[in-house]
């Protein structure tokens, strides 16, 4: 069974960056994308993810996700334009009635709103690309433990990631054994094929459940749960420099919240589109937000040099 994680260690500055900083940055971009409505602010959030994706050399994977975003964007535009008639610029008016929708009017404002929301989706998916392709699952688990999430749940997640290769190996072994016994798994119709997979699934399940006891016994023999405070074989060290990076990664979120409080980042689509120019102060704030969003890059670069030195 060929399986591969989305994470690939490409050794870039983004891969080497502290996982907390990446989590904080992705969280910031996602939350800002949800609270901002202004297309320029949403565009900035999306554009800010691009240099990070490029530096992480996850460009190809990012492009493959765009197909999904385009489809969803189409849905967003269609739904919004079919139900919102408050716009003043009517582009198309249906002459026939659609059940429950009446005579929909497609307005420019509704299409623009749909495009704005597509930009929001694009920014969110693009930000999560960074998380999916550059944070190792183990680091994600360690970060969860550090964040004081319930320990046993995080341990269960960590063990699950550990079981993946074991189970994949077991699956291959049991499939070979059943084939050697004459089971033809690729013959017949889909229903027959799936049914014959049962000859692999049930032994795999029984074997895995037996393995569960072995693992539990191994844990208990090493005094699992004997002490309330546990120790770690591998730790994510959060030094001063990392703390600075985390603060830098989270700063756009607080700045964005402040901007929302000041009244920036909102946008009126209906009844007619508001002027897109945010004004001189608005542009200044946009530039400041861009600097804060990209601050993570020089910090990541400097960290690598710091480690090399």
């Amino acid at each position: 069974m060929q399986i591969s994680l989305r994470y690939k260690d490409k050794g870039t500055v983004i891969h080497r960056l502290n996982p907390f900083a990446k989590l904080a940055w992705v969280g910031s971009v996602t939350l800002l994308a949800v609270i901002f409505e202004h297309p320029l602010f949403l565009l900035l959030l999306f554009l800010a993810t691009l240099p990070v994706v490029i530096l992480a050399r996850a460009w190809r994977e990012w492009v493959s996700l765009i197909r999904f975003v385009i489809y969803m964007s189409l849905v967003i535009v269609i739904i919004n334009s079919l139900v919102m008639y408050h716009g003043t610029h009517v582009l198309l008016e249906f002459t026939f009635e659609i059940p429950t929708l009446g005579n929909p009017k497609i307005t420019l404002e509704a299409i623009c709103f749909g495009l704005g929301m597509s930009l929001r989706l694009l920014a969110i998916v693009s930000a999560f690309t960074v998380l999916n392709f550059t944070v190792h699952p183990d680091d994600l688990m360690l970060a969860m433990i550090k964040l004081k999430l319930p320990y046993k749940s995080v341990l269960a997640m960590s063990m699950s990631t550990r079981f993946i290769p074991t189970l994949a190996g077991d699956l291959e072994r049991i499939t070979d054994v059943q084939r050697a016994r004459g089971l033809e798994m690729d013959k017949g119709r889909l229903r027959q094929k799936l049914k014959s997979r049962g000859a692999v699934l049930i032994p795999l399940l029984a074997n895995s459940l037996d393995r569960t006891v072995q693992v539990a016994e191994a844990m208990e023999s090493r005094a699992f749960g004997a002490l309330k405070k546990r120790t770690y074989h591998r730790e994510i060290r959060l030094g001063t420099y990392d703390l600075v990076t985390v603060c830098a990664a989270i700063s756009p979120f607080f700045f964005g919240l402040y901007l929302r409080y000041l009244g920036y980042g909102g946008y009126r689509y209906y009844p007619s589109l508001q002027k897109i120019d945010p004004g001189q102060t608005g542009w200044l704030f946009l530039a400041a937000l861009a600097v804060l969003l990209l601050l993570i890059l020089p910090l990541a670069w400097r960290r690598r040099r710091y480690i090399l030195d």
């Binding site: 069974m1 399986i3 591969s4 989305r6 994470y7 996602t30 939350l31 949800v34 969803m72 849905v75 967003i76 739904i79 919004n80 079919l82 139900v83 919102m84 429950t100 929708l101 709103f113 929301m117 597509s118 929001r120 989706l121 999560f128 998380l131 999916n132 999430l149 319930p150 320990y151 046993k152 749940s153 341990l155 269960a156 997640m157 063990m159 699950s160 079981f163 993946i164 189970l167 699956l171 229903r191 799936l194 049962g198 699934l201 049930i202 795999l204 399940l205 029984a206 895995s208 459940l209 393995r211 569960t212 006891v213 693992v215 539990a216 016994e217 844990m219 208990e220 699992f224 749960g225």
Partner: protein, 244 residues
């Protein structure tokens, strides 16, 4: 048990309230179309806190290494079973595994297997704002599957009941998970826009419901029997009238 029930009722009431508020509190502060509250964020925070609440419940309920190892293993099997079916429009067996886990090992195990399914399979398929929703809904599948245990069902009727249960949850899954898409990207939040959002995913939900029936029908009895056998071999509890 009482505390667990209270917690669950609280979550369900709050969830139903958040779900219905956009439709009934027009013009008030709770109206998401009034622009005061971002309903997407409200729903995501609610879902995340609920998951956290259940993690704390697992912390209390999982007495030892055996329980942790069990849910990890079942979670991995369930997550891996999702991967080969990724391109088949939600025709996948992981909901079936979650149903069986909840039915045999109880609500907390069912919920944890569900959470692990979403977390682990998304390491391969991609995490996003949808991950907490998937954990939450599959978690509810695991919890409610455990409720079926209380019904007086024979082995054969149990499979039929689980298949019907799976069919229902296939649709409910779509009805709940589309909330994230609806609240984040669609305006205004009305019943009409919600139904249109559901309409967009109707094929995914239909295949999901059919897949649940299909997998429960073909593998349900055997998978449950295997899990029951394991449960009998490795778990014991003291009852009032003797040892079980």
């Amino acid at each position: 048990m009482r505390r667990g029930c209270f917690f669950l009722i609280l979550i369900m009431s709050l969830g139903t309230f958040i779900y219905l508020a956009p439709l009934y509190f027009k013009g008030s502060l709770l109206d998401p179309n009034a622009g005061v509250l971002n309903w997407g964020l409200v729903a995501t925070i609610f879902v995340s806190l609920t998951i956290l609440g259940f993690f704390f419940e697992f912390e209390r309920a999982a007495a030892g290494a055996k329980e942790i190892a069990l849910v990890s293993m079942l979670g991995t099997i369930s997550a891996l079973s999702r991967l080969p079916f990724a391109a088949m429009m939600n025709f996948q067996p992981c909901t079936f595994f979650i149903i069986c886990s909840g039915y045999v090992f109880g609500p907390v195990a069912g919920f944890m297997v569900a959470c692990l399914t979403a977390l682990i399979s998304n390491l391969f398929l991609g995490h996003g704002p949808w991950t907490p929703y998937q954990m939450f809904i599959w978690g509810l599948v695991g919890i409610t599957a455990a409720w079926l245990r209380k019904l007086p069902l024979s082995k054969s009727t149990a499979v039929v009941a689980l298949a019907a249960f799976g069919f229902l949850w296939g649709w409910l899954y779509g009805i709940i998970i589309n909330v994230w898409f609806w609240t984040y990207f669609v305006y205004p939040l009305t019943l009409k826009t919600y139904l249109l959002t559901l309409l967009n995913a109707v094929i995914w939900d239909a295949t999901h419901a059919l897949a649940n029936v299909f997998f429960v029908g073909i593998f349900g009895a055997r998978v449950i029997a295997t899990m029951e056998r394991f449960k009998k071999r490795f778990y014991w509890s003291i009852e009032r009238d003797g040892v079980k």
